[in-house]
């Protein structure tokens, strides 16, 4: 009794229980230990209700698609681009071809939209609004990871390439006609049946460290890539290049073992960026963290994992004719790249206004398209391609088996579900936006019945539960793809369902790229969903020339055709050769092309003049703020 009393005295002053007014209320809850939990549940129920409530207007289909589709240039806040790096007719016919190929309503109109806008590709929004560009301002951009090296010779990572593009100018650029145009090189001559290329280098060019950019710097740049000590990943892009000479300050002579047609495109990309020999002499290994080039922007700082800052090169004279901002330096004072790994956070940053421009994934795109605070730019004839590939083993060595898969894939549903409608169905083993893309190929139709009958011809029989068996044994195939991308994940899940409906049991594995690569090399898979981005027809050689990029290709007939396509410098003749390759790959169904997904950029309203060039680089030199 006494103890109890004491205890009470102790807690007394501490506890509001002692206060009579509060007593009743607290007694209500005292000793009820369920209460916290009940409150938790109530709270959570609230959460659920809000979840369901405020989202009701959001309907299932992606309305943005239609919005974008029916607009020739710009409707609402959506601008569609189709700057395909195709020879004149290629871009338009390419898109029209997609229209005939795609069974899909959305995809069809999408492609048609692209076709009509093709001509508008080069036109910027600034031109459309007709306002004079203003100078100044900081453009806030976002990248998903740290670049590995801001050194053209030391990287093939797209993130690095995109930044290197702004720091380093190249000898040539690829115009919307799909042909090389003068940049640092004033002109060039092809000699010796394509085995010698002589570039005339412009005079008076300077690197941003003040040193002179001449033929010697060009020679230095390419010698560095060719030097095995550099261990340059760009070496493979140099093809048959053997040596570079600089007989005088304005002449650079490139010597090849054999003619190499992709060379112009390859050196127009980030790999061909001309580096300052003085800066490399000075910083050595640290050059990749302190890059110096002659581009429109100067590298200022790189805070690992956080941001990269480039400032305007005030002395820059833009030599490219495909830009609206000709002859001058950039309008922007500065570009900040924030490094944000999580896509949800990137989207939030765009909505919040912390970043001005962001390449959207399909999930975010449907949201931003509906948001009047933003402009949306779509590049429909992009240079990427999603496709299924096979190992070099039974049963996939049989073209008929590969055709089964080609007929079983519902591209329309895939585009809707995996890419939210933001993709163009593709029948060819090449990205829609690449020159030579065969517009007249109808592609394999989505035809499960046909796929099933082909399976029967191959000796497969359905068992009691409708799943296919061969020689009395049930078959299971493995479908693999790389991790980290929601679109890819949705796509394989749908492909799995597609194949199940024709009776094929498929196990899906989504693996990190490094492990995937090992499996691909070993042929330790049945189907692989892959995505490649490459702006030149040489993508065909990269993929299929024996032994193929994964070591799963072996087709001597095709090899000869590829050698011809890569060795032909005349554009028209080359495209013919490329088309022949496509036909062969298509007939053999060496891969099952699925779609080219659109590059979609969401930008704050104030961002003007945004556009892509033919190889997919964003031309920030043209961008200004209203």
């Amino acid at each position: 009794m006494e103890v109890k009393k004491r205890g009470k005295r102790l807690t007394g002053p501490l506890s509001p229980q002692a206060a009579p007014a509060k007593g009743r209320v607290s007694r209500l809850f005292t000793a009820s230990r369920q209460l916290p939990v009940l409150m938790c549940l109530v709270l959570m129920t609230g959460l659920v209700l809000t979840a369901c409530g405020d989202n009701t207007p959001t309907t299932a289909s992606a309305p943005s698609t239609t919005q974008a589709v029916n607009t020739p240039i710009q409707v609402g806040n959506v601008s569609s681009f189709s700057t395909a790096s195709a020879t004149t007719a290629a871009a338009t016919t390419a898109a029209a071809g997609a229209a005939t190929t795609a069974a899909a309503g959305a995809a069809t109109t999408a492609a048609a939209g692209a076709a009509t806008t093709a001509a508008a590709g080069a036109a910027t929004t600034a031109a459309a609004t007709g306002a004079a560009p203003k100078k100044g301002g900081v453009l806030h951009l976002v990248i998903g990871e740290d670049p590995d090296a801001l050194d053209p010779a030391k990287t093939i990572l797209l993130t690095s390439d995109m930044i290197n593009d702004l720091i380093f100018d190249r000898l040539v650029y690829i115009g919307s006609d799909g042909l090389p145009h003068p940049w640092v090189a004033e002109s060039w001559q092809i000699g010796d049946g394509g085995k010698t290329l002589t570039f005339k280098i412009r005079s008076g060019l300077k690197f941003t460290d003040g040193t002179v950019l001449d033929a010697n710097a060009v020679k230095f740049t390419f010698d560095r890539i060719l030097d095995p000590k550099t261990a340059s990943p760009a070496l493979a892009q140099m093809g048959t290049l053997t040596s570079v000479d600089a007989p005088d300050a304005s002449t650079a002579v490139f010597k090849f073992k054999e003619a190499f047609a992709p060379f112009f495109t390859n050196i127009s990309l980030g790999y061909g960026g001309i580096v300052s020999p003085t800066a490399i002499g000075k910083s050595g290994d640290q050059f990749s963290r302190n890059p110096v080039g002659s581009g429109a922007f100067i590298f200022k700082s790189w805070t690992t994992g956080s941001q990269i800052v480039l400032v305007k090169n005030p002395d820059y004279k833009n030599l490219r004719q495909d830009d609206t901002n000709k002859g001058g330096p950039a309008y922007l004072d500065q570009i900040d790249f924030a490094i944000v790994t999580e896509p949800g956070t990137r989207l939030a940053a765009l909505q919040q206004g912390s970043i001005d421009l962001y390449s959207l994934d399909p999930e975010s795109a449907s949201l931003i398209v509906k948001d009047s605070n933003f402009n949306v730019f779509q590049w429909k004839s992009a240079t990427n391609m999603n496709f299924l590939e096979f190992p070099n083993k039974a049963p996939w060595t049989d073209a008929k088996m590969r055709q089964v898969i080609a007929h079983a894939i519902d591209k329309k549903a895939l585009i809707e579900s995996a890419w939210g409608g933001f993709a163009t169905a593709n029948a060819n083993p090449m990205p829609v936006g690449v020159a030579g893309w065969d517009a007249n190929n109808p592609g394999y139709s989505y035809d499960p019945a046909k796929a099933k009958s082909l399976l029967t011809e191959l000796g497969y029989k359905p068992n009691a539960s409708g799943m296919m068996e061969k020689d009395g044994k049930p078959v299971t195939f493995s479908l693999i793809t790389y991790s980290g991308y929601a679109q890819q994940k949705r796509a394989v899940e749908l492909i799995q369902a597609n194949l199940k409906s024709i009776g094929l049991d498929v196990k899906v594995q989504i693996i990190e790229f490094s492990s995937l690569q090992t499996m691909l090399k070993k042929g330790d898979f049945d189907l692989d969903l892959m995505r490649w981005t490459w702006p030149d027809p040489t993508i065909l050689s990269l993929l299929f020339k024996t032994p193929g990029w994964t070591g799963q290709s072996s087709d001597p007939a095709l090899d000869a055709m590829l050698t011809k396509a890569d060795g032909t410098l005349d554009p028209a003749a080359r495209l013919e050769a490329v088309k022949a390759v496509q036909k062969r790959v298509y007939e053999q169904a060496l891969i099952v092309p699925i779609a080219t997904d659109w590059i979609i950029v969401g930008a704050a309203k104030k961002v003007q003049g945004f556009k892509w060039d033919a190889t997919g680089y964003s031309r920030y030199i043209d961008v200004w703020f209203s």
């Binding site: 939990v37 659920v48 289909s61 999930e363 492990s515």
Partner: protein, 317 residues
């Protein structure tokens, strides 16, 4: 306090969200009273029932277990059945939890996900408990070189944050649910091992154990018949408290892309798929999130109640 308590009081489970406040000191008193406080199962159940939060916890867990067992019966759709025209439908009478980007019914997926989540928890903890108890018993009882060796190994495991260890194991074995379970299991071994070792160290010196040893009862028999039963209560409590941890680590692995493989409706994986739709279709992230939430809350509540009931030293809070 005996010196070895310094190490053994340092409780358990790096990476555990819930601090495990089982101390050998407390354990000691618990043991002395052990002959007393329990009047068998009935007393135990009565006490558990009297504990309000345990009741709620049990209800929550029963909901989850029920969902797991009955999933094939009550799920209105095949969880993997895609239906593109009905993609991203908000919750409705046809689809209680809405549909995902491929038109799959989220309600069915969450139900089937319960099976996987329980599997993860149970299998991971079984692995951890089996090896942890074995190591703890042997090292605690024999001491000496074996003890030193194993404790250094445990130190080594403890030097990793749980998720880091799991990350390394999964990337070595390959990313799938089974390996995620193994990884989570291995990273929880130290908790059990230290707990059991601590208990054994104190029990070993008790009179009846020394007596048993003196009359020549074999070591395994002593461990099995005498030592283990006495250490059982804290083991059970630890297991209940580590369960949420296992579920969370598995979900985090899925977040990083090293967890369940599609089309598996593991909740962590559902959450990860849904996160890009947090604004446009928030039901995709809300319901799996809630499911995880309920499971963890349920096991936390039950775990705490168990600790209160089984550990008289802490009872009555």
């Amino acid at each position: 306090m005996p010196e070895n308590t310094k190490e053994t009081t340092t409780p358990v489970a790096a990476g555990s969200l819930e601090p495990v406040t089982l101390e050998v000191g407390a354990q000691n008193t618990a043991l002395e009273q052990k002959t007393r406080p329990f009047h068998g199962l009935r007393d135990f159940t009565r006490r558990m029932y009297r504990n309000g939060s345990a009741r709620v916890g049990f209800v929550l867990l029963i909901v989850v277990v029920g969902a797991a067992i009955l999933a094939p019966v009550i799920a209105p759709y095949d969880p993997d059945l895609t239906n593109s025209p009905e993609r991203l439908q908000p919750p409705s009478m046809q689809h209680f939890f809405g549909t995902d980007a491929l038109g799959r019914d989220m309600f069915s997926r969450v139900l089937f996900g319960a099976q996987l989540t329980l599997q993860i928890g149970v299998i991971a903890l079984s692995i951890a408990a089996f090896f942890g108890i074995a190591i703890g018993l042997v090292t605690g009882y024999y001491g000496g070189f074996i003890d030193g060796l194993f404790m250094r190994l445990i130190d080594l495991l403890l030097a990793f944050p749980g998720i880091l260890l799991a990350l390394m194991i999964v990337s070595t074995l390959g990313p799938n649910l089974t390996n995620a379970m193994i990884a989570v299991g291995i990273s929880s071994i130290p908790g059990f091992a230290r707990l059991v070792r601590g208990s054994v160290l104190t029990i070993r010196e008790l009179e009846y154990v020394t007596a048993a040893r003196a009359i020549g009862v074999s070591a395994p028999r002593i461990l099995w018949k005498t030592v283990l039963p006495n250490a059982m209560a804290p083991i059970i409590v630890l297991a209940t408290l580590l369960f949420p941890d296992a579920v969370l680590v598995a979900a985090s692995l899925s977040f990083i892309g090293l967890g369940a493989q599609p089309p598996s409706p593991e909740w962590g994986a559902l959450l990860v798929d849904g996160r890009l739709y947090i604004q446009s279709a928030s039901w995709l992230i809300t319901f799996p999130g809630l499911a995880i939430f309920i499971t963890i809350m349920g096991s936390n509540l039950v775990g705490n109640a168990l600790r209160d009931v089984l550990d008289p030293h802490l009872r009555g809070r």
